[in-house]
Symmetry: C2
């Protein structure tokens, strides 16, 4: 059935029945009034919003609707985590063409629901509308007793990441060759030149990234960001906000065995993925040295400039390339 | 210059310079980090989001970019007002085609800025992205010491609106005939068969609606909603949430002289505009009788059903028609 056969009001009531259960903690009024009314649990309210446009942020040639919905929640939650916060409430904007199949609508919300449960987020409101292509946006609120900004890095701090780098960008390259959606959410497997246990973690990282909760990891972080545009770009944001530089140890950059194998297959330098690949949604943060940190140390904060050095301390040239909208 | 020649990062820094001034009250971190961090002033946090898609919610054939930006803020603020709240913070999502002229981008934000100032709202964050057509969405937060829901109307309450009905829908019909944007924001006039002082208030209500702050008007409101989809549809929402009915007095429905004149020109029943026309963004609310209310009383809350009656108490047949996305 097409969305135009269901109509906006019915779609809204479907969502209301699904997500409108009152009684979620802190929700005084959820879907079904002019605004949601909530009682945030802490005093510092975090607000973030991210948009996903079909054909720009996701491609239905290799993405299931479920995966798009799941990722929408992850990327927003990741922003809250990146400030040291705990996500609480979610508002959605959904828009799609009139001839969109209703199953697409339902599967997108399946993914949104699954991810919301995963992160403990309550869906409290939103708006739906028609458009030419699918446009999703979400706003997530959170709170933080202690906010970790990008601007707090100090010279001498060590630089950490929470996991492997470049998997998502490498996964995207594989998906572009596969040109087929795979329902990972239903444990389906795809067929590809490479073994599936090499392909799976890479494409999963791209299609259904999981935001990393820093609470147990980065207890004394001075600055933090989530890696959405690539290690070097996101690191340069911390450096510029903190008015410092950084030295990265190339040998310490965590690169998965799967990435190495797939990069070989793709004939692309794994380092290019690790330093320039976006959308890993790992956290990148700085902490004073001497702290016990359960993450991977990849460098240290310096006075100025960003350099990548090898074991011998020799500078390695790495090109900075990330994703920029509107770029020529 | 086209957006693709400027690039996302430059666009972001333009916005940051423009809206990123720290020091706005309650803003701990504005544009330029993963999240905005704010301290809401009250305990009941209101959250609302609304999307505006080019070709669906606004038409560039008769809308200036400034007007689209202005309206985006108004429709979101209106939702906060409709809960009895005071708007505080705004997050934006902007997306447009790569070949969009940069002037469009700037003028949209001019309109957003103007409206934000008007309502005392601080812009604290957002996201920009490329898409085929212009898609705008905003999330507005607010607070309310006393929240007014749709569900509080009681039998015997009187029904009020804060201003004339149908002007926006009538203005839209005029714009569809004019087929030309008019820079009302620069006091420009358009040319049309009707006198400009008849046309102006109608098209202005459609292009640059002003949300109505209920604080001084609806002190004892039991239920409230803003009229976005048309009087009868929005009233039926209050009735359905409150499990009551309503009787409207057709002679008391406020209709402007301009609407009467333009409706005659268009050969459309003014009552059809007043009862079915959306996007007036007047407030519709109920209050116990006996209160002094500075708004127009148009009816009373009954046990069930919605009727429109004339002076003699005879039922008038009025067709309910409002805007529904995806409707066939």
């Amino acid at each position: 059935m097409k969305l135009s056969e269901i109509g906006e009001l019915s779609l809204l009531s479907i969502l209301r029945n699904r997500f409108g259960k009152t009684g979620a903690k802190g929700v005084l009024a959820g879907i079904g009034d002019d605004c949601a009314v909530v009682r945030p649990a802490g005093r510092n309210l975090l607000l973030t919003t991210d948009m996903m446009v079909e054909g720009v942020h996701f491609d239905m040639r290799w993405t299931t609707p479920y995966q798009a919905g799941f990722k929408l929640v992850s990327v927003n939650v990741s922003d809250v985590y990146a400030m040291g916060g705990r996500p609480e409430f979610l508002l959605l904007n959904f828009s799609a063409g009139r001839s969109t199949d209703a199953a697409v609508f339902h599967r997108i919300f399946d993914g949104i629901e699954k991810a919301s449960e995963l992160y403990g987020v309550s869906i409290v409101g939103g708006d739906i509308s028609s458009s030419e292509r699918i446009v999703l946006s979400a706003t997530v609120t959170g709170y933080a007793s202690k906010v970790i900004k990008r601007s707090g890095a100090r010279i001498g701090d060590l630089i950490y990441v929470t996991g492997c780098l470049g998997d998502s960008a490498c996964g995207l390259q594989l998906l572009k060759k596969m040109m087929k959606p795979v329902e990972l959410e239903r444990r389906k497997k795809g067929h590809f030149d490479l073994k599936w246990d090499i392909v799976l973690p890479l494409i999963r990282r791209h299609l259904m990234p999981r935001a990393v909760d820093p609470r147990r990891i980065a207890r004394s972080a001075t600055a933090m960001i989530d890696i959405s545009d690539g290690l070097l770009i996101d690191l340069s944001r911390i450096c510029s906000e903190s008015k410092v530089g950084a030295k990265l140890y190339v040998e310490q950059l965590p690169v998965s065995a799967q990435l190495k194998r797939a990069a070989e297959y793709l004939d692309i330098d794994p380092l290019a993925f690790a330093t320039g690949g976006g959308e890993d949604y790992e956290l990148l943060f700085t902490e004073p040295s001497g702290k016990k940190v359960e993450a991977i140390c990849i460098g240290e904060v310096t006075k100025s400039g960003i350099t990548v050095v090898d074991k011998q301390g020799k500078n390695k040239k790495v090109s900075v390339k990330g994703y920029e909208h509107f770029a020529v």
